[in-house]
Symmetry: C2
Subunit: 238 residues, 2 copies
């Protein structure tokens, strides 16, 4: 507990990665696709859609695209993968509706109760590459108790650009070390740490489905390693 004891006292803001950390995008997308066509491998579809995400954001980060919302990147990727799954003839209205599946992602079972515990002591915000409208619709549906929804859209930079992590500290007028990024992704946490943020890794072993092995091993670089938000709350003295 030495690392938490060192880092925790000054932390005032918990900033949460969302896709995979708070909500189960894989299971939610797989269920939506399965409901449209039970012959499609929903798990493979979800992972194919998500696989297009980092390359699409990289084209924004490099300047090849101007600022583009995740909703629009999701749609570009969707159009590209539909034929691969035999769904190339899906009509426009259904594509629009399916694209909004990312607004309807279900939280991990313990997430909301864990956030409510953490909220008693800390201010909670998102720090997601998802756009503001998406995150607001998701929070309303899933009753996620954010004090503030922050997004790459506010900073006009996608994670892992430093402007995002430092932007949280600026918004709340605190030092970077008073913000803790909570995420299930080590690359996100390493980038936050490089900006001076405190870091908490959360295990989400089935993020990519139960048949994909996901690295949830402890990395001593991070201040906290937690099996979920309840375990995080325990370690933060909530």
């Amino acid at each position: 507990m030495g690392a938490e004891a060192r880092a925790a006292p000054a932390v005032e803001i918990l900033a949460f990665d969302v896709f995979g950390t708070v909500v189960d995008w894989h299971g939610s997308i797989a269920r939506e696709v399965h409901a449209i066509d039970p012959t499609v491998d929903g798990s493979a579809f979800a992972n194919a859609w998500r696989d297009g995400y980092q390359p699409a954001m990289a084209r924004v980060r490099s300047g090849e695209f101007g600022w583009t919302k995740i909703d629009d990147l999701h749609r570009m990727i969707l159009d590209a993968i539909l034929p691969r799954f035999g769904l190339g003839s899906m009509p426009e209205a259904q594509r629009r509706q399916l694209n909004l599946a990312w607004h309807r992602l279900d939280p991990w079972p313990e997430a909301v109760a864990g956030l409510e515990r953490l909220k008693v002591k800390y201010r909670l915000c998102t720090l997601s590459n998802g756009n503001l409208g998406l995150l607001a619709n998701m929070a309303r549906r899933a009753r996620l108790p954010w004090d503030l929804i922050l997004s790459a859209e506010v900073f006009r930079h996608y994670k892992p650009d430093p402007e995002t992590y430092l932007g949280v500290a600026d918004v709340f007028d605190v030092a970077p070390s008073q913000v803790m990024l909570v995420a299930a992704h080590k690359s996100d946490l390493h980038a936050a740490k490089a900006c001076g943020l405190a870091t908490a890794f959360v295990e989400r072993p089935t993020e990519f489905g139960s048949d994909v092995v996901n690295d949830v091993s402890r990395d001593p670089a991070f201040d906290i390693h937690a099996t979920g938000f309840d375990h995080l709350a325990n370690q933060l003295g909530c």
Copy 2:
């Protein structure tokens, strides 16, 4: 009820002005100043602080200043008015604390219950010139049930610049006519209407204190005229 019947069906998003419309800045600031020094006229102090607000934002809007948060504009104005009220020797720590009074504004007595009613049918957001951190702290303390906190800080433009009103529609991916601005200020509503938004005027007759006459007369330019959020909810069929 003809105007509401025409405007209401398409509206999905209610965007709220905050200072004066949702929260009683005058009474809250007057109380904080009175608690510091009972010999100061808290009402006059509150109005003097607020009087500096539009001119300060105008210097940002004109480009004279780069982007500057309301917290920082409030502090500049505070430093300028303290000597006028015999408080010129106030120490730095107390100035910082007093400046945060704008994060601790109390809502009008019926505001929270009215917002809860409206939230059942509509998505609720702020559209305030207040900065994100201020609005988040205020919402947490006063339990304001926003689906999304939007601020001039997101759009890097202060109201009444069109980028703010149109920005709300863009964030939620709806037409401007599907957003209704709710405000106690006619100039704000006229600017929103010019951008195609629906408009609801809310009477806050004591916004500047009980001894200042505030124009709350009906203006037929707006879709709805309400005496408060309950009255607004009635007219919107909530």
